[in-house]
């Protein structure tokens, strides 16, 4: 496995804030093991927005939950991996050390703001909790900071709304509250797990605009998990594509969309119809189903659905290798040129 932190990007000047190497997570179920995350390595630079794309079950959320060890640990088991954050290996950190990191130096935003906010506490209480626990602020100071935070995320009449309960907010406003909570302690890294998936497009556009604005103001590094390639195109600096619990491609955003190398990425980009541009009579289809992940992968996970698969794909699991400029890497044996574009469209 090549070293995930190899600084090859053009903006390599920024220091790496989060470095994950060979992370491996397995769920033990009654029907056997599920290999959800297989040797995932990646790094995140200060101020960067890393987009993580994949279908459901591709391991994108489990990877992020594993690295802050938020998974319920009897069914889940982290078999291997090193996560460097703040001169510390999070895999070796004690529960107390982790608690001091989660919510403070690593903030989190989850998909559904209704289920991740506690319905029986008002929003002010939930905003002030991290401020008082992590930053040791007093009640008054915490309240003042909460009002600032709500104003920062664009909630009008912030001081009064502190007393409101989550159900009194609309979906978009609730997600703004979640963002405010995640930002409360000035995190270095923000993990956003499908933060706009549950929202309508016009509200999603508002939230995306807000995140862009906040990045400029606060400059934290963000990991943005989504299955929506459109969102990624608009917001990410670098993109990581996951499939079957593995990273199959990694590249700066423009490079990835202009020049996708892995067959899965290529087909994924073609299956999504676009609003502008040409309208095809038929949609490109990726035949078959996502893999079951019952075994430790010893062959390419995309092999069964791949139009370019050949003998080697069944014999060994491809590792990420350099395929283009600026740290563009893909995990595929196919070199892309032998059969040309027609093969993909066939």
């Amino acid at each position: 496995m090549p070293d995930g932190a190899a600084p090859q990007n053009s903006d390599a000047s920024d220091p790496t804030v989060l470095d994950v190497r060979d992370l491996k997570t397995v769920f033990r179920t009654r029907r056997g093991e599920v290999h959800a995350v297989n040797n995932v390595s990646f790094h995140l630079r200060a101020g960067e927005l890393l987009g993580v794309v994949g279908e459901s079950g591709s391991g994108k959320s489990v990877t992020m939950m594993s690295l802050i060890r938020l998974l319920p640990m009897p069914p889940a088991e982290i078999r291997a991996g090193v996560v460097d954050f703040d001169d510390m290996d999070l895999m070796q950190a004690s529960e107390d050390q982790l608690r001091a990191i989660r919510g403070a130096r690593i903030g989190m935003i989850f998909q559904d703001p209704m289920t991740s906010l506690n319905p029986v506490f008002n929003v002010g209480y939930q905003l002030m909790e991290p401020l008082r626990k992590h930053m040791g602020l007093g009640k008054e100071a915490a309240r003042k900071r909460s009002v600032e935070l709500l104003e920062l995320v664009g909630i009008p009449d912030a001081a009064r709304r502190l007393k409101d309960y989550p159900h009194q907010f609309s979906g978009g406003m609730r997600q703004r509250v979640m963002i405010a909570i995640a930002l409360a302690c000035d995190p270095k890294v923000l993990i956003a797990d499908e933060p706009t998936t549950a929202l309508d497009v016009t509200i999603q556009a508002q939230i995306l605009e807000l995140v862009k604005e906040l990045r400029q103001k606060l400059g934290m590094a963000i990991v943005w998990i989504t299955h929506d390639l459109g969102v990624i195109a608009g917001i990410a600096d670098r993109v990581m594509v996951m499939y079957g619990g593995q990273v199959v491609e990694e590249a700066p955003v423009r490079e990835l969309f202009a020049n996708p190398k892995h067959p899965y990425t290529r087909m994924l980009l073609e299956t999504v119809p676009s609003l502008s541009g040409e309208r095809n009579d038929r949609l490109q289809v990726i035949q078959g189903q996502p893999p079951m992940l019952a075994r430790d992968p010893d062959s390419c996970a995309f092999r069964d659905r791949c139009p370019h698969a050949f003998d080697r794909c069944a014999a060994e699991n491809p590792l990420l290798r350099d395929v283009g400029p600026d740290g563009h890497r893909a995990a595929c044996f196919w070199d892309g040129d032998t059969q040309g574009e027609e093969a993909v469209h066939a």
Partner: protein, 415 residues
């Protein structure tokens, strides 16, 4: 696709569709307001075409789809499918029917109360009348009398008032039984294939249920038809005796589609059929729907919030906002040159999977949230968020107008 060559036939005609859900509050559950989920929607669907119905969550698009199939009892509407009226051809007929029902109900209550008092008096006066089987008999007679009163009063009132207003009996909405007979022509594919398939029925049972409800096929004929349908939607015949949980999301949606096809419908309402599926599976299901449309000449009402998918599948598109249609136009016109400010904002909010256009595209970011449908704003329902709002918008509700052939817009900017 029906594109002008010969005048296409209107298969579905919806006029003035209103679906209000009453709000009851207080100890006595008094009727204090309505959630106006759908508030005066008009559209036609031509035979063989796909009408896309788009909008944000809560705009009433699903309610609209269900009301068109009479899965709801609409507050008012005229819905014609294949020339057959499913609701109220005549709005006066609806009012007469509602009034007749109300009076008949009150008459029934009076009869019932009188009857209970009578039974009580009899029981006190005559000991023989208070014995067990006699009381039961009295109660049965009373209930029969009550039902009789209701139907007699309702029908008499309806008939006399209809005659007075010059409305024929045919203008009244079909009864539940009549509707049931019409159901084979119109079917539905639901959003969540997990929730819309009975987990305790096999695939064959699910697909075969409409057949045993509406047809008199023999067991072998029925099985043949089930296999035929499974072939049509691309399900392996060997899976006929499996249960829904054994299938993936995309395959489950195929089961739902096969069930909808079982009775050879003409019109299918697809209510967000791909929203619960993964991107790579969505394309499979959309292609299947298109193939089936071509093969069986189906007409679709395709409800979705995914604008790029609607651009792919629909021939014409209706955009809904807060219970009303804001704009209805042929697909390419709508996407290339949206007229209503809401359509413009909606289209520009969709993130394009292309980082280059992202940096250059001009975006209309709407402020605020959608108002509550129980308390819509005065005037145009988009006036609270519209970037081009004028004074007239806050006082007058714009009417739907055909501004160019085939293009309907409800906006004061285009009137």
């Amino acid at each position: 696709m029906p594109d002008g060559s010969t005048a296409p036939r209107k298969l579905v005609e919806v006029r003035n569709l209103r679906m209000y859900f009453p709000i009851h509050t207080g100890l006595l559950r008094t009727h204090t307001g309505d959630v106006k989920a759908v508030d005066g929607v008009n559209f036609d669907i031509y035979e063989g075409e796909t009408l896309g119905l788009v909008g944000e969550s809560g705009c009433g698009k699903s309610t609209c789809g269900r009301a068109v199939l009479r899965l709801y009892d609409p507050t008012s509407a005229s819905i014609k499918i294949d020339g057959v009226e499913l609701a109220w051809a005549n709005d006066d007929a609806r009012k007469i029917d509602a009034a007749a029902r109300r009076i008949a109900r009150n008459a029934t209550y009076s009869v019932m109360i009188l009857g209970v008092v009578l039974i009580a008096v009899l029981a006190v006066q005559f000991e023989a009348m208070a014995r067990f089987p006699i009381v039961l008999l009295q109660a049965a007679v009373l209930i029969a009398l009550g039902l009789l009163t209701f139907f007699l009063t309702r029908n008499m009132l309806r008939k006399s008032r209809a005659r007075a207003a010059g409305i024929s009996e045919a203008d009244f909405a079909p009864t539940e039984n009549d509707l049931r007979r019409m159901r084979p022509t119109m079917q539905m594919v639901f959003q969540d294939p997990q929730a819309s398939l009975n987990p305790r029925m096999t695939v064959a049972g699910i697909i075969g249920e409409p057949l045993s409800e509406h047809t008199q096929l023999s067991t072998t004929e029925r099985n043949d038809r089930i296999y035929e349908l499974m072939d049509a939607v691309g399900l392996n015949r060997d899976f006929a005796n499996r249960y829904p949980h054994e299938f993936s999301g995309g395959q489950r949606q195929r089961i739902g589609i096969a069930r909808a096809l079982a009775l050879n419908p003409k019109f299918i309402v697809c209510d967000e059929p791909i929203a619960a599926l993964d991107v790579s599976i969505q394309a499979q299901v959309v292609n299947l729907l298109e193939d089936l449309q071509e093969k069986f000449g189906l007409t679709y009402l395709f409800i979705s919030h995914d604008l790029s998918m609607v651009r792919h599948i629909a021939d014409r598109v209706a955009v809904m906002y807060l219970g009303k249609v804001a704009e209805l136009a042929p697909r390419d016109e709508l996407f290339n040159d949206p007229l209503h400010p809401y359509t413009k904002a909606l289209l520009s909010a969709v993130p394009e999977p292309d980082p280059v256009t992202h940096d250059t595209a001009e975006r209309v970011i709407l402020q605020g949230d959608v108002p509550s449908p129980s308390n819509p704003p005065q005037g145009c329902n988009f006036c609270t968020r519209c970037p081009a709002v004028m004074d007239i918008c806050r006082s007058e509700d714009p009417e739907m107008k055909e501004v160019r052939p085939g293009r309907f817009v409800a906006c004061h900017l285009h009137s």
